[in-house]
Structures are given as C-alpha cells and as structure tokens.
C-alpha cells in the first residue's frame, strides 16, 4: 500500500515537502520547551501551509499573473497569491502578539521555559 501511495505521490512531491515541513513545525511546538522555539515551530507550520496553497496555484510553464507586453498564457492562478498575502499578514500579527506575550511572561516570571513555568503555577 505504501509504495503504491508513493507512486501516486510522485506528481505531487512538492506537497510532500509541505507535509514534512508541517510535521517538523508541529514537532517543535509540542516538544520544544522554550516558548520562542515553540513559536518558531508555529511559524514553520504556517510557512508549510502557505507553501501548500501557493503551490496549488502553480501551472506548468506558467508565467506570474502580471499582465504586460510579452506575457503569454498559461498564467499561474492569482487567487492563491492573494490569499497568502493575507495569510502572511495574519501570521505576522499572531507572531507579534505572541512575542509581546513572551516578553511579558519573561518580565513576570523570569523564565520562558515551559517546564519551569509549569512549576511556578
């Protein structure tokens, strides 16, 4: 079953990279003790999802969806790009707030290690 799946996956190897990236990010979020590292893991996951959506809009031999002299179809789909621009802003916002919270946690507790924080409770 597994080799069969891999065979099917061949045209979608780009997506496989996305899956690996996603899992690496999730691993960091779960296992890492340092809150900043957890946040980095989250950012890796975000990147994975963005990469996935942008990849889905790609077309073989296509040009970027910016019209102008000499631009010939096929064009990549503009929609995923637009979505991901918004997605990046959302990720930025989340990261900014998370960093702000981490700063406050550090000021209040003197540490940003998850296990030490748990003991403080």
């Amino acid at each position: 079953m597994l080799p069969e799946m891999l065979l099917e996956l061949r045209p979608n190897l780009d997506y496989a990279a996305v899956v690996v990236l996603f899992c690496i990010g999730l691993y960091a979020v779960i296992v890492k003790n340092n809150l900043i590292k957890k946040l980095l893991g989250l950012n890796i996951m975000e990147t994975a999802v963005f990469a996935f959506i942008v990849t889905s809009g790609m077309v073989e031999g296509g040009a970027p969806p910016v019209l102008g002299p000499g631009v010939m179809p096929p064009l990549a789909s503009p929609l995923p790009h637009a979505l991901i621009l918004t997605g990046i802003v959302v990720a930025l916002a989340t990261t900014a707030l998370a960093l702000a919270l981490i700063i406050r946690i550090y000021l209040q507790h003197g540490t940003i290690e998850a296990d030490q924080l748990r003991e403080l409770d």
């Binding site: 957890k38 999802v49 959302v90 919270l101």
Partner: protein, 507 residues
C-alpha cells in the same frame, strides 16, 4: 396603526445594505476608538456603548427580513458568487448575530466601571477597541459565506481574544493567553490547511459553490482530511473535550467582562464553524457524515460529563464557570451531531441561550470580584447577605444553566434530550439529564456558599452592591434568562424551518 408600522418596517428592512453595516459599525467604531481616546478619553466607554447599541439595532431589520424572506446574501464589490466574497444571513448567522447584539451593550455598560479598575489605565482604549473588534469579527464570521473570509474574521476574533485575556495584566492571565494563542494558532492553521485542500480540489472558496462541487469528486482521503482538519480546528476553537485544555485558565483569568464575551460568544465561533463544515460536507456521499456525526456525538457527551466533573471539584468561582462552558459546548455539539430535527433545534437554541446565561454568570462573578477581590467559594462565603441583588442574579443564572424550567437553559436541553430519543439514541437523553444533575451539584455549592454560610472575610462583610451601571446590566441579563425561557416559542418557531431545510439538504 399596526399596518402602518408593518409597512414601514418592511420598507426599512428592504434597504439592501444592513448586512454590511452590521459589521462595519463595530469594526469602524473600533478603528476610531484609539483616536477618540487621544481627543477625549472619558468618552471612550460611552462611544463603545453607542457603537454596540447601534449594532444591536442593525440586527433588527436583518432579523425582520430573514423572518419574512428567508436567508439572503450581500455581495461586496458586486461580484457574483463565486468570484467575489459573499455575505449571507441565514438562521445560524442570525443566532450568533442576535446573541452578539443582545449581549454587547450590557457587557460594554458593565465594562465602564469594571475595566476602569481591572485594566491598567494606559491599556483602556485598547481594551474597548479589542472588544469591539472581537464583536465585529464575530459578526463577520457569522455572516460570511466564503471559506477564506471566514478564516480572516476568525483571526480578528482570535487575536483580539488572546490579547483580551492578558489585558488585565495578571501574570496568570498572560501565561494562559499564550497557551490560548498557541492552541488557537494551531487550530487556525488546520482550518487554513483545510481551506487550501478544498480550494485545490474545487478551485472555489464560496461555501455554497464548494458544497455543490464536492459531491462530484472521487478523492476520499483528501476529503476526509479536509473534513477532519476543519473539525479538529473548530473543535479546538470551541474547546470540545479532549481539546479543551486551554479554555479554563484563559476564561477564568481574564477580566470578568472579557470572560463573559469569551465564554458566551467566542467559543460559539467554533460551533458556527462546525455548522458550516457540516453544511459543506452534507451532500458528499464518499464521506460518511454519519461517522463524523457519531464521533462528535460521543465527544459532545464526553464534554458534558467531563466538564461538569471537573467543575464540581473547583474552588475558584470563575474556573467553575469556565468548566461549565465546556459542558455546554458539549450539549450543543451533541445536539448538532445527533442530527435529528429536535436535537438540532435544541442545539441551536442552546447556542443562543448559553451565551446569554454564561454572560450573566460571568458578569455577576466579575462584580463580586470587583467589590471583594476574592475569587474562591470559601472566601466568598456569605456574600449573598452583603450583595443580595448581584447574588440573586447569579443564582438565577445558575438555575438557568442547570436547566431548571422555565428558564432559558431548559428549552435547549429539553429539545436535545427529545431529539436524542427521536434519533433513537436514548443514552444521550440520559447524558443530558445526568449533565443537568452534575451541574446542579456544583451550582448548589455556589448558592450554598453565598447564602448559607457565615461570612469569614472582612471584604465580604464590608462589601456593598456594585454601582448601578454595573448592577443594571447584570440584573437585566438575569431577568432575560428567565424571560427568554418563557418566550421560547418564538425562537423555536423561527428555527424550525431552518433546521428542516438543513436536514433536507443532506438527504
């Protein structure tokens, strides 16, 4: 006279732009709040209240139109679906919108005096801004008919919610907020991933369009993954057991008015998400929705039992209320997943009623903390003597959440239990009753401590009722807990066709 009134109402409701006004008002109001603070800081609470009040009024013509015409759409930019972003006002959107409309003004009125003490002065304008953003985001999330737009509004809601938890500056709250953020961000990512997969499969983002195109696909694994990612994502947002871990601390450590909004309204965003997921996949034959339903029913039942079970052992009043939210989310999800007309009706009713009741409870608890600074039942013993009105409101809210007839909490549970029997699954009717009993146990503990124990703390003995601008909203909401229970006929009749339509769409 009555006829003239009717005509003018329908003329008013016919104005096509109410739906966009509904979200522009709170969001626009929020955007201007920091600037207003710079000009005239004392006006900010009143400004927020005004914005919330106007938003609440906006819901009225929308409800009128929905009741007379059925669901309707608004197309920003004028692009026909699926090319633009569609906004759509259906009964489930109406439920959440009505809850926001009803609860936002009392919460903001309560906040004026409450936040002045619970929130550091420099953060105050942002407290109001974030509250308005949160409410506006919830409205947007309720009415959007576009998958990606749903994600964007969900983020407005989530980000403001994370920050609101920490706005009071308590160290515990900041830690809880971070935990909440981490879980929330993961759930958002899962949702975005699912949106991406659905987009890759159908090339569309409009929910109705996607739902139409999904049944033609022959990709079981991808569909399952999309459904699963949406389910898990929204379950995390809704704090369904076993993904509830983040909720109690976040809701308990936030300032009282914020807890009310979080527990009453924000978790409902997850429920609305689950409803939308259901609507997306209802017609897909490759994917056995009954199986998904079966899982959700059990998770809902587990939430009911576990939430109550944890709540029984809490000493902190607000933690108790927070665990009770998990229980009630369990009821709603269970009712939905049972998928019989009465159970769905009950779940929809409970979505609204729980918002009302939990807001009452959290505001009343916030008022107690405002006066005494005490949080545990042991410390608050005897508070019923010194703050009788506030405690009476809390007691009424407690009765309602237990589901004592004829309060608002009864109706939803009643229909969920009946619906369980209707679906031929009497075990879940038993769960409803058992959950109500467990709830009775811990709410009796609260009432016992407040009324039948001698005060021990000095702060309790010297406590007075909170100022009227805080007491009035609490009392009003408590009376509504009773009144809406008595008037439950209206929402039942309003929702029945919607539920029938939803179930028809499936078969």
């Amino acid at each position: 006279m009555a006829a003239a009134l009717t005509v003018s109402w329908s003329a008013l409701a016919a104005w096509p732009h109410w739906l966009i006004v509904l979200i522009l008002l709170p969001l626009g109001g929020a955007v201007l709040t920091p600037a207003l603070y710079a000009l005239q800081r004392r006006l900010v609470p009143w400004w927020a209240l005004l914005v919330a009040g106007l938003t609440a009024l906006t819901v009225l013509p929308l409800l009128w139109r929905l009741a007379h015409e059925g669901p309707f759409s608004y197309l920003p930019g004028g692009w026909a679906r699926p090319y633009g972003v569609e906004l759509r006002f259906d009964e489930f959107a109406a439920l959440l919108a009505a809850a926001v409309a009803l609860l936002a003004p009392p919460v903001l009125l309560f906040s004026r005096r409450y936040a002045a003490r619970a929130v550091p002065a420099g953060r105050l304008p942002f407290y109001y801004t974030l509250l308005l953003l949160n409410l506006g985001g919830l409205l947007g999330l309720a009415i959007t008919a576009d998958l990606f737009n749903l994600f964007v509004f969900l983020e407005v809601v989530s980000l403001s919610a994370y920050a609101l938890v920490a706005v009071g500056g308590r160290p515990v709250a900041e830690l809880a907020a971070f935990k909440y953020l981490l879980m929330g961000a993961i759930s958002s990512l899962l949702i975005l991933l699912a949106v991406g997969i659905l987009f890759a499969l159908t090339g569309s983002l409009n929910m109705a369009d996607v739902a139409q195109r999904l049944p033609a696909l022959a990709t079981p694994a991808a569909l399952t993954l999309a459904a699963a990612a949406l389910l898990v994502g929204f379950m995390l947002k809704a704090a369904l057991f076993p993904l509830h871990n983040w909720l109690p601390e976040a809701h308990a450590s936030a300032p009282g008015a914020v807890s009310a909004v979080l527990s009453g309204l924000v978790v409902k965003a997850g429920i609305i998400g689950l409803v939308r997921t259901y609507q997306l996949f209802a017609g897909v034959e490759l994917l056995d929705t009954a199986n998904l339903g079966a899982i959700l029913v059990w998770l809902g039942a587990a939430s009911v039992v576990m939430g109550s079970f944890f709540a029984v052992f809490q000493h902190d009043l607000k933690l108790m209320l927070a665990y009770s939210t998990i229980t009630n989310i369990g009821y709603i999800v269970m009712g939905w997943a049972l998928a019989s007309p009465q159970a769905m009706l009950g779940a929809s009713l409970h979505l609204f009623n729980h918002a009302l009741i939990k807001t009452t409870l959290f505001l009343a608890a916030g008022a107690l903390i405002y006066r005494t600074g005490l949080r545990t039942l042991e410390e608050l013993r005897g508070i019923g003597r010194t703050m009788p009105l506030n405690c009476a409101a809390l007691a009424l809210g407690a009765l309602a959440i237990v589901g004592v007839p004829p309060t608002a909490g009864f109706v939803g549970k009643w229909f969920i239990a009946l619906g369980a029997l209707q679906a031929g699954r009497p075990f879940f009717a038993l769960v409803v009753v058992f959950g109500a009993l467990l709830a009775a146990v811990y709410y009796v503990r609260i009432i016992n401590a407040f009324y039948f124990r001698e005060p021990e703390q000095k702060a309790v003995v010297t406590a007075r009722e909170v100022p009227w601008s805080m007491l009035a909203p609490v009392l009003l909401l408590a009376l509504l807990c009773l009144g809406i229970g008595l008037l439950a006929r209206l929402p039942v009749e309003f929702l029945e066709p919607a539920v029938a339509r939803l179930l028809d769409g499936r078969s």
